[in-house]
Subunit: 466 residues, 2 copies
């Protein structure tokens, strides 16, 4: 499929990220991509997209009982010695000294989340309710060889929609089931990616029971209880949503079993399976942080599990995969440009009233928090203008305003439909108020709002980009 | 004033940040503060506060025509060689190698913002409108000696409400004036800190004209035009708001003059003047990035200025100063716990109906995106419970529900008033709906919403913290 656009092309068209191989034009010399490989530079389109996504994810999780944290980028190496990472993960970490003390750019958020849990236990004792759930949009950094770096898909700095759940053993199955439902809501309602037979597989990574205590750390009881909970929920999900389940015996990490949501997405090189969400047990960290003991001290005889989970995994990678799958079409709430207004010229001239109405609609949409642009139609006719929009910034809504619309107090609206890949055209009344257009927009925001409680309104006039 | 609480005490009470000297209790050993000095660990209260503040600031700026960016934490050292920082700022930067290439943890956002501006110029040419304004909540890292680190006030990793404005020379005065109005809206409407005679000084840092071209880089024309614009606006502001202006001749940075908003805040050691917002000209970066030439190539004969500006400066430091000034009272929209519900026992027993109504009110507030907690009154009477709340989590609203309230279908509400430092009591009807209580809440959110377009709703049940 050569010649097909890849996610970097779409990211460039939408101004989501600056192409890694693009140059920044300075007079006299063209400079290369300065971020350095593996640390993608989100541009203005990408800035809006990321803020919108962050607001959606924060609200999504807060409404499901997750506490929200924000932990540092750097950490004293001591913290990652305690967690064990300095022993078995150091080669993937960026480490340097400040004065005579060693610091690291955090490669993961877990140790910080556990510190917060512990500090809450220490202060609030058994008033802390379990399961305890803590979420962060956490930017982490890990070494990747420069040869393997690729666009947004393989990077050295990325953001996880990361959460940790400390749950009583007996509630682990319910927790896993809830997290799966979160994945489903997020994928289906926020991103329009259905969870069904055709495109989803659950991948269980289990221990080889004969190696528990050697290759796989922790007790037989832990592995057994955790893997039963995973199996139980995987079967229920498989039955309910008709998705496949595969089992990798012996493929678990040394610290615990997991279940991954594998999703098939179309891409520039055909359909590919992506690892999206993950639910992982961890029997290492609670020992390292003495959480089992501390929990027993406070709650009496209670066994808990620590579960890592992410719904999207790496935001950067997810955006990359999504851009290829939907050929650069983003959900309305996250699209850099949400509404393009085309002011139609008649006979090569732009009517003053057409210009006025176009500007007024733009201002009203801006004041409602939407990202808009006005573009004058070119001499060569509308189809060229639309083609240009569709091959660049791809606004979910195009509003046409010409002499006819002004005369009839209407707006012609073309709404992109992610499922069909086409626009449907409609005409709405526009007198003194924008209400009918706003109804169309609210319809676009509806499922995101249903899932997360918000559809962020972060306005911008992006007229220079169309 | 010994014995007075400082910002770290308040941060601890509100669960905003974990005290740098506090220990995390692991059985058998008490561990110290693991983040390492200078990288404050925001806990759950702090996580909600920071997300709310970020949403407010992003919306605040987007509504004022700033584009939103999100740039990497790391950068190839090449970028900071180009900007010049590697020559004159390297000792403050954290630098390390990945493979054979040098990287730095970014100490500032400016170079990235300029790259984005340049990439927009290259793609969209003169359709890019000036002034061009780009905003980021940018986390930066700079070396501070360990001996000078102090709580949230002096740290090694902090977040700037950072923006860069590229403006035609002739519009510089208007831009400065607009930024001052932004400062004023943010301080007064979002944080309830009035800008007036008593507590604000504008500090101009100007060149010594005799040293332009030697100590101060750039041309006489640049300095002259920039300093005139600063002087003009400072005089207007001084007249309009009756604030003092001071001039530091020769105190400008080598790269340009600036104006700082100095604000007097009460603190644990008396009233102190803080540097809040800053508006700085930069004559170095545009030369380094060849922006003057490139702008001329695209717009014809046009001189532009590059202005750095921040309204709060370091978010961490601002929060610290604010906590001391208002003794741990945060604006409603950012308070970790927004509404505490006290379920009042009668005769040592909690009436079932009181419990039911309390839980119902909690659930309804949660579903509206608010952060709430339910606390049963203790045997010793309400005053002790209230004292405890006021000396810990400090909710802006306290709602009392007892047998009397249940009987009369009312809620007793005590609303904290930042200006008077007292609570005013009122009684609202509560039948089937929460409407009257929501009116009080919306009143609390009103000025933040007026300034920024939003009052974030990021819900949480924080009952374990009361």
């Amino acid at each position: 499929m050569s010649g097909e656009k890849d996610h970097i092309d779409y990211a460039h068209e939408l101004d989501v990220a600056i192409k890694p191989d693009s140059t920044v034009p300075l007079i006299g010399k063209e400079y290369g991509y300065f971020s350095g490989p593996g640390v993608p530079l989100f541009s203005i389109g990408g800035g809006f997209l990321r803020q919108a996504l962050q607001q959606i994810l924060v609200s999504f999780h807060a409404r499901r009982g997750y506490f929200i944290a924000e932990t540092p980028t750097l950490a004293s190496s001591e913290l990652f010695k305690l967690s064990g990472h300095m022993d078995f993960y150091r080669e993937n970490m960026y480490v340097f000294n400040i004065e005579d003390r060693e610091f690291t750019v955090k490669p993961m958020n877990c140790p910080y989340h556990l510190l917060i849990f512990l500090s809450h236990l220490a202060r609030f004792r058994n008033r802390v309710k379990l399961p305890f759930k803590i979420f962060e949009m956490g930017r982490v950094h890990r070494y990747e060889p420069s040869g393997s770096l690729y666009g947004l898909l393989r990077v050295r700095g990325f953001t996880q929609d990361d959460a940790h759940i400390i749950t009583p053993e007996g509630e682990a199955a319910r927790v896993i089931s809830d997290v799966f439902e979160e994945m489903r809501s997020l994928m289906e309602l926020v991103f329009g990616l259905p969870i069904d037979e055709g495109n989803v597989r659950l991948r269980l990574s289990l221990s080889d029971r004969s190696q528990i205590g050697t290759h796989f750390m922790g007790s037989w009881e832990e592995w057994s209880a955790a893997e039963s909970a995973l199996e139980e929920i995987a079967s229920k999900i498989a039955e309910k949503y008709k998705v496949k389940v595969s089992r990798g015996v012996g493929e678990a990490a040394f610290y615990g079993p997991k279940i991954d949501l594998m999703m098939s997405l179309r891409g520039s090189s055909g359909v590919k399976e992506w690892q999206m969400g993950t639910i992982q047990f961890d029997f290492n960290l609670p020992r390292r942080f003495k959480i089992y003991d501390y929990v027993k001290e406070i709650y009496g005889d209670m066994n808990v599990f620590i579960i890592h989970r992410a719904l999207l995994g790496s935001i950067e990678r997810f955006i990359g995969g999504y851009l290829e799958h939907y050929k650069g079409r983003l959900p309305f709430s996250m699209a850099p440009l949400q509404v393009a207004i085309i002011a139609i010229k008649a006979g090569g001239e732009l009517d003053v009233k057409v210009e006025e109405v176009s500007e007024r609609v733009k201002r009203e949409l801006l004041s409602r928090g939407l990202r808009v642009a006005v573009k004058e139609s070119s001499r060569t006719g509308l189809s060229g203008d639309v083609r240009l929009l569709e091959s660049s910034i791809k606004p979910p809504l195009i509003v046409y305003i010409g002499p006819k619309e002004v005369r009839e107090s209407t707006l012609a609206v073309a709404v992109y439909d992610q499922r069909t890949g086409r626009r449907s055209n409609m005409s709405v009344k526009y007198g003194e108020t924008l209400e009918e257009l706003m109804k169309i927009i609210e319809e676009q925001e509806k499922s995101v709002r249903e899932a997360s409680g918000v559809s962020p309104r972060i306005p911008a006039d992006l007229s220079h980009m169309v």
